[in-house]
């Protein structure tokens, strides 16, 4: 009994710790709950980059991070997934479409010179001068016709390259390609040595928006490899808030039904199971906050489901305990046997759930991963709460001796001693009994 009391105080200590964590630490909520955009980018191979290497991915990640940060939104996340994918999460984005355009563009600026092809047609060849040689870009207007233009300022190397190039091309055309498209091809009048240039929008000139976007992209820097958006998920803030309040409401109702049912059916042990269930929820939520697990809608579903598992363990135990009591065992023995004999069922069935969770976690998409993680944590904690916590409370409350109040267990007095079991079970055999 002394050990039992010590364990009881340890449980109380754990509960207090959990309450502290739950109240002090913030819950990390997924974008489907707070609202925001989640994009999956996939690096694309090109003729110059036939295979995506980890180095490519690292530099792509940096470039994307730069761009995301340039948007000025707090708590953005950029992470790698697999060999060639990046997940970008932007909470509270006001215009998801703009963010999308911004991330996917490669911002490849190239200066090309004219060439006579063998078949007599004209074409363009790269000169080695690219967006990498820029210091900065800005939007300005052409002093002659008032059209929007993009002003470029080269860095030291760029200035030299640009100077040499314009010297060579006096009287000829030089083409400016942006993302593979010919933007303009002015005729060079004289060498430009000051390291400054302007891109006009060709015949019709730039729209302001167009020029601004180009400038933003140029300043953010080119992506080392082109990337394509292959998945998008944007949730408006109202839907997220609704989902939270709905899930909370549903969880409360479901939980209250379960608790009432347990008390009605199992009486005093039911009440103990309910207390254990509250402790269980506290522990699980503390773990969610400590790891931290990002709670998504699917994650909440996984948690609510694990409540089912936790209750199941208690039901298994109480059913066995009741059986042992019907046979006429003393309280202490009946409770112990109830726990021991239910243990194999609880252990084996929870193991199969955990196996499923592990496979889901490894193979699933991020939605499925969230679900698997919360369900697995819940299942593991439920083994502790259902076995250690409930058992301890049962022993302390009922003590030893014969059952004096059968109604506490929802049993009738005449049921006691009315049944007998198959055999005297050896505890150690029953625990991990394997069929031969």
């Amino acid at each position: 009994m002394k050990n039992k009391k010590l364990l009881f105080w340890l449980i109380i200590l754990l509960v207090l710790g959990c309450i502290y964590v739950v109240t002090q630490k913030p819950t990390k909520l997924g974008l489907d709950l707070v609202g925001g955009s989640r994009l999956v980018l996939e690096a694309q191979t090109t003729s110059t980059i036939p295979k995506i290497t980890p180095d490519n991915m690292d530099s792509l990640k940096f470039a994307i991070e730069d761009r995301v940060n340039a948007m000025g939104v707090a708590e953005t996340v950029v992470q790698k997934e697999g060999d060639k994918r990046l997940i970008v999460e932007i909470p509270d984005v006001s215009d998801p479409e703009k963010a999308k355009e911004f991330l996917g563009e490669t911002a490849e600026l190239e200066f090309k010179r004219p060439v006579q092809n063998f078949d007599g047609t004209e074409g363009w060849v790269p000169t080695g001068l690219t967006g990498k040689d820029l210091k900065k870009a800005l939007v300005s207007t052409n002093s002659q016709n008032g059209e929007w233009v993009v002003s470029l300022e080269f860095n030291e190397v760029g200035t030299k390259k640009f100077g040499n190039l314009t010297k060579e091309l006096v009287g000829k055309q030089m083409a400016i390609f942006f993302n593979g498209e010919l933007t303009s091809a002015p005729v060079i009048q004289e060498p430009i040595l000051g390291g400054q240039a302007q891109i006009s929008g060709g015949k019709g000139g730039f729209e302001y928006e167009e020029a601004k976007k180009m400038v933003d992209l140029l300043n953010a820097g080119a992506l080392p490899v082109p990337a394509k958006i292959i998945e998008e998920n944007t949730v408006g803030p109202t839907l997220g808030a609704d989902s939270i309040s709905n899930s909370k409401f549903a969880g409360m109702i479901g939980l209250s039904f379960v608790m009432i049912f347990m008390i009605l059916y199992y009486r005093v042990p039911g009440l103990i199971a309910d207390i254990a269930l509250v402790i269980y929820s506290l522990i699980v939520f503390s773990i969610f906050k400590i790891i931290p697990v990002t709670l998504t809608l699917a994650g909440i579903a996984g948690f609510i489901l694990s409540i089912g598992m936790a209750v199941d363990a208690n039901i298994l135990i109480f059913e066995r305990t009741k059986e042992e009591l019907r046979v006429g065992r003393t309280l202490f023995t009946a409770i112990n046997l109830g726990f021991e004999r239910a243990f194999t069922s609880i252990f084996d069935s929870n193991m199969s759930t955990i196996i499923t969770c592990i496979i889901l976690y490894i193979l699933g998409t991020s939605v499925v991963k969230g679900f698997a993680l919360t369900l697995a944590i819940g299942t593991i904690v439920s083994m502790f709460s259902a076995i250690t916590v409930t058992k301890n409370f049962m022993h302390l409350l009922f003590g030893t001796g014969n059952l004096k109040h059968p109604e506490w267990f929802g049993l009738k007095a005449e049921e006691i001693n009315s049944a007998y079991v198959a055999d005297e079970t050896k505890r150690e055999n029953a625990k991990f009994g394997i069929l031969d």
């Binding site: 194999t344 929870n350 499923t356």
Partner: protein
């Protein structure tokens, strides 16, 4: 031996009835999936998560009718959005005890992979021109290659989970027990898939990535339930095999675990029903799949898993006699 134990169901005696019930559950399910496979190339109507595509949703305050849908469709087509699938969803939100319902227009189009076309903006402009108060609620867009990959991964995940569970059960029980547990599990999953095939045929319900988690959970639960019954059979066999026949042991074991099976399902169903009626609209199908799966899983753990063992044992015994 077990004469004094409470006996509620005579499981072995009526085993043929349970076999017929299971066949009645499964055959139409397979039929519905076959019908859809012939018609669409997949056993279920699969959503954009698997096929690729874009779904854009807006919330509006006005109540919408079929006329409104037709109007929206016409306007979208005029803007160059081809064959949009338009649905109206109603969500209720509970804030401080007050429930408020909102209509959501859901528009599904082909995947918008071209960043210059900006389909979402076109759709948004069209919708706000009809309903100025409309708010963009959700955009989900999946590329076609990603969809195929998800489909492949999902099938691998389900198969791996089955193999994993089978290995674990062979280790803890007999290989035969593992096989029957898997058989029961397939029974349950087929039923859930079948119901969704019917929902697809009659109500156009599509399954998404979350549905895979639901199926996997059903899988876990089904085995969970079966294990509890088999565990009891294992225990009873160990201590009673000399004085009771196998049929008696199975009968007694099922009856001993019956209250537990029903109570567990009830408590889990409480939470799931609460989620179904009060939870978010996005998880409704997910929860429905689990409600179906847990109900059929409880049924099969009581009536199918045990009956299979009895049939198997009869075959084994008769072979022994012949030998």
């Amino acid at each position: 031996m077990f004469s004094n134990a409470k006996k509620i169901i005579d499981i072995v005696k009526y085993r043929w009835i349970f076999l017929v019930i299971s066949i009645l559950l499964i055959v139409p399910s397979i039929g519905a999936m076959g019908y859809l496979t012939v018609k669409t190339g997949a056993p279920l109507l699969v959503g954009i998560d698997f096929t690729g595509g874009t779904i854009i949703q807006y919330s509006v305050d006005t109540k919408l009718s079929n006329v409104d849908i037709a109007n929206v469709r016409e306007k979208l087509s005029a803007e160059g959005i081809e064959n949009p699938v338009i649905q109206i969803l109603t969500t209720t939100s509970n804030k401080e005890g007050k429930s408020k319902s909102t209509e959501i227009i859901s528009i599904k189009t082909a995947f918008d992979g071209d960043k210059n076309s900006n389909k979402t903006n076109t759709v948004t402009n069209t919708i706000t021109s009809i309903y100025p108060e409309a708010k963009l609620v959700q955009v989900s867009s999946v590329g076609p290659t990603l969809g195929k990959e998800l489909m492949k991964n999902s099938i691998i995940a389900v198969l791996l989970a089955i193999v994993g569970i089978c290995a674990y059960l062979s280790l803890r029980f007999h290989f035969e027990y593992a096989m029957f547990a898997i058989f029961t599990l397939v029974h349950d999953v087929l039923f859930v898939l079948g119901v969704f095939a019917f929902l697809g045929i009659f109500y156009g319900v599509h399954v998404d990535a979350l549905f895979i988690s639901a199926v996997l959970t059903v899988l876990g639960f089904s085995v969970h339930d079966t294990i509890v019954v088999y565990d009891r059979i294992r225990e009873n066999l160990k201590f009673a095999s000399k004085s009771a026949t196998f049929d008696e042991v199975v009968d007694a074991s099922v009856n001993q675990t019956l209250t537990r099976s029903i109570n567990t399902s009830l408590t889990t169903l409480f939470t799931l029903l609460a989620l179904y009626f009060f939870g978010g609209v996005t998880t409704k199908d997910f929860v429905l799949a689990m409600i179906l799966g847990i109900s059929v899983g409880t049924y099969s753990s009581i009536f199918v898993a045990s009956v299979l063992l009895v049939f198997y044992n009869h075959v084994k015994e008769s072979k022994k006699v012949k030998a």
